[in-house]
Amino acid sequence: MIERRGWRARALRLWLPLGFFLLTGLAPFYWMVVTSLKPNAELYNRRIMPLIVYHPTLKHYIDLLTETNFLTWTYNTTLVAVVSTAISLVFGIMLAYPLARMRFAGAGLIAAAVAATYLVPQPFLFIPLADIINNLGLSDTLTSVILTYPTMLIPFCAWLLIGYFKTVPRELEEAARIDGASRWQTMARVVLPLCIPGFISAGIFAFTLSQNEFLYALIFLNKTDVRTVPVGAIAELIRGDVFYWGQLMAAALLGSLPVAFLYSFFVEHYVAGLTAGSVKA
């Protein structure tokens, strides 16, 4: 843009607001770290300045790992996220490919139904689902959440991948067909390999969504050894009126690590997944 930009204008227009957003956005994380490192004597002392740690300790982390089932919860969370993401990706591809590339009666209706399903929030379904899961005898099993998470992940993956499949030029497909490839071969050997970045986007996003899920896990998982991290932290690190703040913060931090770690490697894919629905490139 053609504009004169003094450093004052730039500070006012860029660094000041950016600083504000960064500060408000990240301060809670700073507070998590600081709290998790404070000994209880410091944590619950209102006389001292709370913004820094005077005697950092890993006690809360050690207690969290040794006195609670945090490691089990982490394992459960990861297992559930990986399996439900895998299911959702495969089913998402199976839905998206025909909807994006085939012409058949009813395609428009199915595509609309899939989009609408993605928009149905969980609180709509949790009461009947609780009853269904209970009747199936799946309460307190990881199967209950592995089955229900894909209900929100499949429509998302399908939706994202429909857009992605549409970007593959039709000529490639036609060339393969002329060479005698069946529809299945054309899909498996020509189109799908070109769409791996789309699968990564959908997978990363589905993974973070399942790590974030709380309502179904809260309802279906009531035993400590099947709980996920969010449910375990809320149900077991808060006992009645007693909050184990140090451990809670340590759990919040450690529980966020898998997502944050994955995210840091695949930011661009994540952003692509995030904006897939609203923005057309």
């Binding site: 843009m1 809670p28 839905l95 709509f124 991290v229 995210y263 609203s278």
Partner: protein, 311 residues
């Protein structure tokens, strides 16, 4: 010589395979076969539960007991329940204010990031953190930030001489509790708006701005007559999307206030949970959850139609 009429030979296995292959290669057959499994799955775990939920809402159904059909009695009970109307009001206030804040803040942040500066990708990644961290875990941090005895905000306010000790009770006072959940929802959702709008901003051709500048358009005019109109579809989709999920929000309120104090922050989802899960009244709970249907149904159908039409 007359040809000996040949009896129609039974199709050999090879021909059968070719015929089957041809059949499978038809677009419609291939498509429906591919979609069958996921569609059955979604039907069983979304379609059926939805219908079952409607059925439950017409029953008096205590947990682990057979239900009795009661018609619309649950809904009549909802209508007579003052808490239900408080919940309705809360949900609209929560959704309305949080959405306005997220939209305004998200647009501002998107415009800020859209300028050129160093470490842009790193800063953008950092700004998105509140959105990617599991909600329950970041809400736990907020709970500690707003703790009645050890709130760091209060420490700053008290030591800055702005309030008298012990400072406001963020989650104990009804209005402040509502304000708190709105602010936290905004904190978490704003980056989603910002990143989506930023992606939208980046699709606007720069020469439009250049042409407008040459024609003497002020920065404000360029914003109103180029940026905003071209961003409108993205703003609309992101907003409707976020309204749906804010309207049906559960996690944040459940963790932070449990709907309290005295139902001041109770939303449809948390109230339905309280009645169905804590109170064991599945039918009545289902009716409260279904009370979201008119609003959400309209939004979901509207957005679906709008997005299909853009394609």
């Amino acid at each position: 010589m007359a040809a000996i009429p040949q009896a129609a030979a039974p199709p050999r296995p090879l021909e059968l395979r070719v015929a089957l292959g041809r059949w499978l290669d038809r677009e419609a057959v291939f498509s429906w076969l591919m979609m069958a499994l996921p569609l059955i799955f979604l039907f069983a775990l979304v379609g059926y539960p939805f219908v079952y939920g409607v059925y439950l809402s017409l029953e008096n159904r205590p947990v682990a007991q057979p239900g009795v059909f009661v018609g619309l009695r649950n809904f009549i009970e909802d209508a007579r329940d003052p808490v239900f109307w408080q919940v309705t009001r809360n949900t609209f206030i929560y959704t309305g204010v949080a959405t306005a804040l997220k939209m305004a803040g998200g647009l501002a942040l998107a415009l800020v990031i859209n300028q050129g500066f160093r470490m842009k990708n790193l800063i953008r990644a950092a700004l998105l953190l509140p959105f990617i961290v599991p909600t329950v875990l970041s809400t736990v941090a907020w709970m500690w930030i707003l703790d009645p005895a050890f709130s760091v905000i209060n420490w700053v306010l008290v030591h800055g001489g702005l309030v008298t000790p012990p400072g406001p009770s963020w989650l104990g006072n009804p209005s402040l509790a509502m304000a708190s959940i709105i602010v936290i929802n905004t904190w978490r959702g704003l980056p989603f708006y910002a990143i989506s709008l930023l992606a939208g901003l980046q699709t606007i051709p720069l020469d439009l701005y250049e042409a407008a500048t040459i024609d003497g358009a002020s920065p404000r005019a360029r914003f109103w007559y180029i940026t905003l109109p071209l961003l409108k579809p993205v703003i609309l989709i992101v907003t409707v999307f976020s309204v749906i999920f804010t309207f049906a929000d559960f996690q944040l309120v459940y963790v932070l206030t449990h709907g309290g104090p005295a139902n001041a922050t109770q939303l449809f989802a948390t109230y339905a949970f309280d009645i169905a899960m804590s109170g064991g009244q599945l039918g009545r709970g289902a009716s409260v959850a279904l009370a979201m249907l008119p609003m959400l149904g309209l939004l979901i159908i509207g957005l679906t139609v709008y997005m299909r039409r853009r394609e």
